[in-house]
Symmetry: C2
DNA sequence: ATCTTAAAGTAACACTTGTCGCATTAAGGA
DNA sequence: TCCTTAATGCGACAAGTGTTACTTTAAGAT
């Protein structure tokens, strides 16, 4: 019944429970997600607790545990709420432009305040809910961005048969590696640099065959 | 007095405490680090706790908290103990060979059992001790590997003026990104593929100027 | 308007994490 | 051998995380 729940596997079919997504349920979610953003913004990921979120949202912590399970589930839901906006990959007219714009967006998301994406990634190492949320994030983003490679092929910038996923990973991985794993400070030139490197590798045949 | 302790900042100078690194202190460390490896191997990172390590090591948990502070401190110390072995970067005779060998080592480390490196990275998102350990890991490894780029320049495979650090990051980031952040299963071809992409980018001038 | 019941609140409970003052053990210098 | 004291053990305590059975509120169908 929580937003992140899924049907249990191998259960015998039972009459479906009638859910009540009306007024109070929806209002509680809004209050809780607002509280998560506020707590994250003011106190950071390390001090984000179910107790603090519940208190600020004005709901009981048992309610939060019941619907979201843990801090990771909260972050996954905040991220999901922020993503329900029909995002489309950049379309600048060139492969390098598209990849650079994508990387600028990723760097902005990773360094945003409150740090929702950064917190979700951090939480994914300790919460199954957050790990599931991050998995959906990557799968969705990489799938949607394959159109960047498709357009480049149509423009003749890439040969048909280019492995889109491998190119996209090469074009984004150094950014994530530096900002998330190495924890180096963001640099305005980093997104362009990483995009340019991937384009040079692609032109040299790195992602074909 | 714990292995990972550092001098507090801005303290007035005081007579140095005389430490006693003899028999019991050293034996306790050995027992505790063995317990960490055993617990990690048998129960995984998610169930690694100070309580479980202390019990298995036969020491009091107050001792573990006093010396290592948290699970992250334990993992950092285990990693440090494993690294005191004079590791040198691969030297295969070619840039691509060196980078591929390096990536094979990294993939082996990330998928090893017990998963010390994977656990340390995961812990780095919740423990300052682990974050410090991971920072040292990256700094040390990237610094030591710059010799790979130096040798390639001497062989004429790369132009002088190549940014070694940027090349090394491009040559390793996609591996870490996929294994750690995307959590895709390791593939035997991945290390070579990522190395080859970086070499093609380098030959195309991605890391000069 | 009434009835059924999903969703939330309550508060007590259980468990885990982490700390601390004092006691004991043993490292190391004289 | 003796003395000082760093390191460890003890066990009590505090705080936080997470759960649960029962009660209350309100969503939604009739």
């Amino acid at each position: 019944m929580t937003p992140t729940s899924s049907l249990p596997l191998d259960d015998p079919p039972v009459p479906p429970i009638r859910r009540r997504p009306g007024g109070r349920t929806s209002r509680v979610r809004e209050q809780v997600l607002d509280a998560v953003r506020a707590e994250l913004g003011e106190r950071g990921y390390d001090e984000l607790t179910v107790e603090a979120v519940a208190a600020r949202a004005g709901v009981h912590r048992a309610t939060v545990y019941r619907r979201w399970r843990d801090v990771g589930g909260l972050l996954a839901d905040v991220f999901e709420a922020a993503s329900e906006d029909g995002w489309q990959p950049p379309d600048t007219g060139s492969l390098q432009g598209d990849l650079a714009a994508l990387n600028h967006e990723s760097q902005a998301a990773l360094t945003a305040h409150p740090p929702i994406v950064a917190a979700l990634i951090a939480a994914s190492f300790r919460s199954e809910e957050a790990a599931r949320g991050v998995r959906r994030l990557w799968e969705d983003r990489y799938a949607r961005c394959e159109v960047i490679v498709g357009r480049a092929v149509l423009r003749g910038e890439l040969s048909p048969g280019t492995d889109a996923r491998r190119l996209l990973i090469a074009a984004t991985a150094p950014l994530y590696h530096q900002l998330v794993l190495l924890r180096t400070p963001p640099h305005p030139d980093l997104p362009d640099q990483v995009a340019r490197t991937a384009v040079l590798a692609a032109s040299a045949g790195a992602f074909t065959g």
